[in-house]
């Protein structure tokens, strides 16, 4: 269960190493301040920054994340945080954006008064009405198309797929229209849509409900893809995705919705194109995202005990890859291990491997190792299902082998 994951990982779910100081910047049109936090700790009020590149990695955070207890390490003022679960963080981000901009609306199956299958939209229909939080009939291609049409006419819709796997039915709209219309219309129409939903392997949900859509969508030009993994980054990425004028697909994970964390009270927005330094180290760069982050961190504990110092990066941005952060890490450690939930063939790991080889070949002391799920549909039987997902023991073994 999600609780096990939380228990096993401890402090590392609490905060990313992103450090920010508490300076306030007031913006005339907003009542509260809002910060976009970059990896290097620099702030900006700008959004949709596609080319931001921090100068260096923050060193401050190293000391923080090596502590084992959950601490509010990145704010100077205590008490300015509140605790919530990941699905609540998503909702909070969504609600703040709906409050801020009347063009933001939600559509999907059972998102209205039912509050969504994973309760991400709970209470929103009561607050904003059932036009802004719209229940749709069961036709994914159609409500995604509807979202696209609404976006082209000036709204900022969030389309919820009850399960990411169902969005395969929306592939036509996502690929042929969502990704393309800004380009084929010569820039006349923009599509600031967010498509989100839970994916990944759950607990015995069966093959059709255990899809990793990021593999299939990664090739579509014109879209951005991000994956959240903590309440903190879930809220920040949700807000960033809504504010972005590009179509963004936000991948959530079925098993991470009940993760608990203390997040800042103050408004914040994260960058869509940046990776998150989870644990700095020097022996090996471990690249991962979503649920596998927790398996990696669990393995990291074992590795630390064995004397290894892995650097763990949650890549977060699946399209485009944050090659700046990843590159800096590779240049430091010279060894790369990718841990993903996608299948071996054609997954995010496959693309990332190719990308790192292409850009940082000279810095590698060993071939890149990629741990992925096998190319099989996810079986229903619990034990079999467990063996299709990369486990901490395999990660430990891989690092040991890589660092020989």
């Amino acid at each position: 269960m999600a609780a096990t994951i939380l228990h096993g990982v401890g402090a590392t779910t609490a905060l990313s190493s992103i450090n920010y100081n508490n300076s306030r910047r007031s913006l005339p049109e907003r009542k509260r301040t809002s910060l976009v936090i970059q990896c290097d700790g620099s702030l900006s009020s700008g959004l949709n920054i596609s080319n931001n590149r921090g100068a260096k990695l923050s060193t401050n955070a190293v000391a923080q994340t090596k502590q084992e207890n959950v601490t509010a390490s990145t704010t100077s003022k205590p008490g300015l945080r509140h605790e919530l679960l990941l699905f609540e963080a998503l909702r909070e981000g969504l609600e703040e954006e709906m409050e801020r901009d009347p063009h933001v609306c939600v559509m999907g199956e059972d998102v209205g008064h039912y509050g969504g299958s994973y309760k991400v939209t709970k209470g929103l229909a009561d607050k904003y009405g059932d036009l802004r939080v719209l229940d749709t009939p069961i036709a994914e291609n159609s409500f995604t198309g509807m979202g696209i049409g609404a976006a082209m006419t000036g709204l900022r819709p969030i389309v919820e797929g009850m399960n990411m796997g169902f969005l395969l039915l929306a592939f036509n709209q996502i690929s042929n229209n969502c990704g393309m219309l800004h380009y084929t219309s010569g820039g006349q129409f923009k599509i600031p849509i967010v498509i989100r939903g839970p994916g990944g392997v759950g607990r015995q949900l069966g093959a059709e409900h255990s899809q990793r859509l990021e593999s299939y969508f990664q090739s579509i030009p014109g879209i951005q893809m991000v994956a959240c993994s903590t309440p903190y980054n879930a809220k920040g990425l949700m807000k960033a995705a809504i504010r972005s004028d590009n179509p963004v697909i936000l991948f959530e994970h079925v098993l991470l919705y009940n993760l608990k964390e203390r997040i800042p009270d103050e408004e914040y927005v994260l960058s869509l194109e940046e990776a998150e330094m989870v644990r700095p180290g020097k022996h090996v760069t471990v690249l991962t995202y979503s649920r596998m982050r927790y398996h990696v961190m669990q393995a990291a504990k074992t590795l630390v005990n064995k004397g290894y110092d892995p650097e763990v990066i949650d890549i977060r941005s699946l399209k485009p890859f944050d090659l700046h952060t990843i590159g800096n890490s590779v240049k430091k450690t010279h060894h790369v291990l990718i841990v993903e939930e996608c299948m071996r063939t054609g997954g995010i790991g496959a693309s990332l491997t190719a990308s790192i080889n292409e850009h940082f070949h000279d810095y590698l002391d060993a071939p890149i190792v990629c741990l992925s799920s096998q190319d099989v549909p996810t079986p229903y039987a619990g034990a079999l299902e467990e063996w299709t997902v990369v486990q901490p023991a395999q990660i430990v073994a891989a690092v040991e082998q890589l660092c020989q």
Partner: protein
């Protein structure tokens, strides 16, 4: 169909229903294949352009009628010249509206300029009515730097944000669910406008058509669905597309008010669309209009329809059931148009189109940068890198790179 149950009407979901006593294969309720009881078709002018006695319709004033006729004739001429240009190799592809000019022009005349159009691909008449110039059409077909679409789409895939005309997207019926979204947006803003989504007969087989209709009905979205039933989907005749009585009956299945109109009768189309649009905007509910017509031309320049239908059939529709001629006869009968004006229109327009083609041909193509812009709101680093890499390749092999694409 419900089998009689010994329960009260209140317990049957969906509201009360009259009971029946038995299942009977001979009962006409089971027969829904298209038989003799076909839905009637609204028509105002007969084949010779005379108003049919007993029909109700709103008169169109002289100015509108003449403008409608001129647009229809212009569309006809523009289509034939662009088609020829493709045959001569000057344009890579083209698609005509031949035989269907009445639908797009009369619809455009009946709508408000604020109504948002989601076209299929045979609705150039609407753009023409709304002010897209002949030069604009030519620029798009030649994909030059003056094209609003920056040369990225195939010819006839026009788009104009300014004229409320969504860019044409090739996959069939994808615009239909988007129409529900547009209507949803208009509803949220409380605007006095509706979404108008076009589809052909073939597109009604796509899942998107059905889901979009269902959505629009459930959401009470102000969408006007217009189906140009022209009898052919490339080589597939409607008898192989569906077995229902055309498209108009499909609206009923979704609880949408539907009307069938003679698409080659521009006056009937004008009246029907006007009434439908008013209903859509006032009641904020969708309406389906099936316009019966015939695709006189080939599907596109990639098709030769004589391979699957008789020349005789095509010629019959082209000559004696031509919507442009029919409307012309009506306009002339009102003394609003004459042969001299006809000759002048045709002469001037022909020259205008030829000139536009000549000009469009000479305008340079969009520069290399436009290959990478607009994929995202701002050009991301990976695309910048790809552009750099491409430029390096071009520098090394300039002779292999097309000479008419400017590098900057």
């Amino acid at each position: 169909m419900y089998i009689h149950k010994r329960r009260s009407n209140k317990e049957i979901i969906g509201g009360s229903i009259t009971k029946r006593r038995k299942i009977d294969g001979r009962n006409q309720n089971e027969h829904c294949e298209a038989t003799e009881n076909r839905v009637a078709c609204y028509r105002v002018l007969d084949d010779h352009g005379y108003p049919i006695a007993g029909t109700t319709f709103d008169q169109v004033d002289e100015e509108t009628a003449v403008r409608m006729y001129k647009s229809m004739a212009s569309l006809e001429i523009m289509d034939s010249i662009f088609y020829e240009a493709q045959r001569q190799g000057r344009v890579s592809f083209y698609l005509t509206s031949t035989g269907e000019e009445g639908i797009s022009v009369a619809t455009a005349a009946a709508l408000s300029p604020h109504d948002i159009i989601l076209p299929q691909y045979r609705e150039a008449g609407i753009l023409l009515w709304r002010g897209f110039t002949i030069q604009d059409f030519a620029n798009q077909c030649f994909g030059n730097e003056d094209d609003h679409g920056k040369g990225r789409q195939m010819p006839v895939h026009y788009g104009s944000n300014h004229l409320n005309f969504f860019t044409v997207s090739s996959p069939i019926a994808t615009q239909l669910p988007q129409a529900a979204g547009v209507a949803y947006s208009l509803k949220m803003d409380g605007k006095d406008a509706c979404a108008v989504a076009f589809t052909g007969d073939g597109a009604t087989s796509e899942g998107d058509f059905h889901a979009a209709m269902n959505f629009a009905a459930v959401m009470e979205a102000p969408v006007l669905f217009i189906c140009r039933n022209n009898g052919w989907a490339i080589s597939t005749p409607i008898s192989q597309q569906f077995r229902s009585d055309g498209v108009v009956v499909k609206g009923q299945a979704y609880g949408i008010r539907s009307i069938r109109v003679d698409g080659n009768d521009a006056l009937a189309v004008y009246n029907a669309i006007r009434a439908a649009r008013e209903m859509v905007v006032r009641e904020q509910k969708p309406v389906l209009v099936e316009a019966l017509t015939y695709r006189v031309g080939h599907h596109s320049t990639s098709d030769d329809s004589t391979k699957y239908r008789s020349l005789k059939e095509i010629e019959e529709w082209r000559r004696s059931r031509n919507p442009v001629t029919r409307f012309r006869k009506w306009v002339e009968s009102k003394c609003w148009w004459s042969d001299e004006e006809e000759a002048q229109l045709r002469g001037t327009l022909r020259k205008q189109v030829l000139k536009a083609i000549q000009i469009a041909e000479k305008i340079k193509k969009p520069c290399l940068e436009d290959l990478f812009s607009d994929v995202y709101e701002q050009v991301p680093s990976n695309l910048r890198q790809q552009e750099k890499s491409l430029r390096q390749t071009i520098n090394k092999h300039p002779q292999d790179f097309p000479s008419d694409v400017p590098l900057h």
